[in-house]
Amino acid sequence: MTGLSLGEKLFIQGGIAQDLRTDGRKRLTYRPIYVETGVIPQANGSARVQFGGTDVIASVKAEIGRPNPMQPDKGKVMINVSCSPTAAPIFEGRGDEEVSAELTVTLQRCLLGGKSGAGAGIDPTSLVVVEGKVCWDLYIDGLVISSDGNLLDALGAAIKAALSNTGIPQVQVAADASGEDRPEVDISDEEFLQFDTSGVPVIITLTKVGRHYIVDATGEEESQMSSAVSISINRKGHICGLSKRGGAGLDHSVILDMISVARHVSEQLLNKLDSEISAAEAVQNEL
């Protein structure tokens, strides 16, 4: 999103300073959020989320796998993001690698918790079928269809919606086979288990333009940023991950202030998302 004239740049910066952005929003207001669940029938769970002109899809696929020998009581969760060239021509070929890798790493940091698994949005112990032998591998794939800023928050919201849409098939382990190295399992295609997604955090990116910070920046606004901080916060108000994106240095008191602003915003966003997700689920069930 380059090619802005000096006048346009000053207009964006001036608007943010006066708490009236180019699309009429205040600094801490989100664009309209649209959530649709169950968009990919082949996946165990999926969701499409739109923040204004930003459009992303997340899908969750579960496969039977073996737990890591170091952590026999935990299933594995993999997150991967790709950017489609339909969103922007620069994503064609290998052009999306840099953006995709950055989004993937940040999402992993924000959703999967520490090395020991503490603080993860998805409890990895709930994915184990037989300890040390059989577990579910959860593949979470994000896809950027249309990009107009704030990709990370949209992907975070889409993953949250997709996880609450996910049903993991019930698994029966043959009783006499539990001693074997590779026990035989019977995967039910009728009974599904729902995830507890109350612990999944939301990601809030605060973009600093001039002396102020804004949420849900559009592509144009992002081109004027001096720096941005993405903070993932759960229901308890705890920080589950944080990462600073490029640009200039920040005073540490500014970062602490950003964290408190993000916590305030996160409550509203969590409530908004939860109601949107349940509304989307209700629509899906009617069909």
Partner: protein
């Protein structure tokens, strides 16, 4: 052959399972556990810095902190590739690589792909990119031995190498990480500790300007804990910055002589907060 093979004791092989599978000294609720190398919770490892490690580079630095050994070379500024668009500010190109013998098991360096972009982010806020328009500066980091806290050490070393190369910067960047385990905050983890942490926090900081250039957090943290961890890190970064500055000063003062001395400081018993 087979019978003999089974009778003789197994040949030595540094198996990762036997090392990492060792139960940590820490147990839930236990406040007084000891770190594997006997340090205090808020005590950094001794640091040794030295500039001018590579003759061919415009600037270079070598850092040894505990078992972690890193070498960084800076090349340029050179003309940007023709394919690049015109840019009135300079470009920074960063790359972090590991030697194949840097870890106990050969070729086991996993997910370090993001280190290059994280190094870039930590440095770009400190470099005055306007001072070399249309050109590119290359920063190549090589981790000779991975002993934990690799990324913060790479960042500190890279900023020293940039200073050695005479690239204009606002300030040196010192970087430190802490990890949380139970209720404790522990600074400058070694590899063994990194594998069982509950959460980690990494700060890159410009001590004189008092600005944070990069901050990443994983795991679940309350605000108070983040605050405490940040203060510990900032304090340690300040002290690390002093040592880096000392190393640069010494290198400058002995530059007329043959540079055989050890221009570097020893950091012992660095106490946080």
């Amino acid at each position: 052959m087979t019978g003999k093979g089974s009778a003789t004791p197994a040949t030595y092989s540094p198996s990762p399972t036997s090392r990492k599978g060792k139960p940590p000294a820490y147990k839930d609720g236990d406040l007084n556990w000891a770190r594997p190398d006997g340090r205090g919770f808020q005590q950094c490892r001794p640091a040794y810095f030295r500039t001018g490690a590579v003759n061919a580079a415009s600037g270079s630095a070598y850092v040894e902190i505990g078992n972690t050994k890193v070498i960084v070379s800076v090349f340029g500024p050179r003309e940007s590739k023709k394919a690049m668009k015109y840019s009135d500010i300079g470009r920074l190109n960063c790359n972090v690589s590991y030697t194949s013998f840097s870890t106990p098991v050969r070729g086991q360096q996993l997910d370090h792909k993001e280190y290059s972009s994280m190094l870039h982010k930590a440095l770009e806020g400190a470099i005055i990119l306007e001072s070399f328009p249309k050109t590119t500066v290359d920063v190549f980091a090589l981790v000779l031995e991975s002993g934990g806290s690799d990324l913060p050490i790479v960042i500190s070393c890279a900023s020293l190498a940039l200073a050695d190369a005479g690239i204009m910067m606002y300030d040196l960047v010192a970087s430190v990480s802490v990890y949380s385990l139970g209720v404790n905050l522990v600074i400058d983890p070694i590899s063994e500790e990194e594998s069982y942490q509950d959460g980690s926090l990494l700060i890159s900081y410009m001590p004189s300007r008092k600005e944070v250039t990069q901050l990443t957090v994983t795991g679940e943290w309350s605000t108070d804990k983040i605050n405490e961890a940040m203060n510990i890190c900032l304090d340690a970064c300040g002290k690390l910055g002093e040592i880096m500055r000392m190393c640069l000063k010494e290198a400058a003062s002995v530059s007329s002589e043959v540079n055989l001395g050890r221009p570097g400081g020893r950091l012992k018993g660095l106490q946080g907060a």
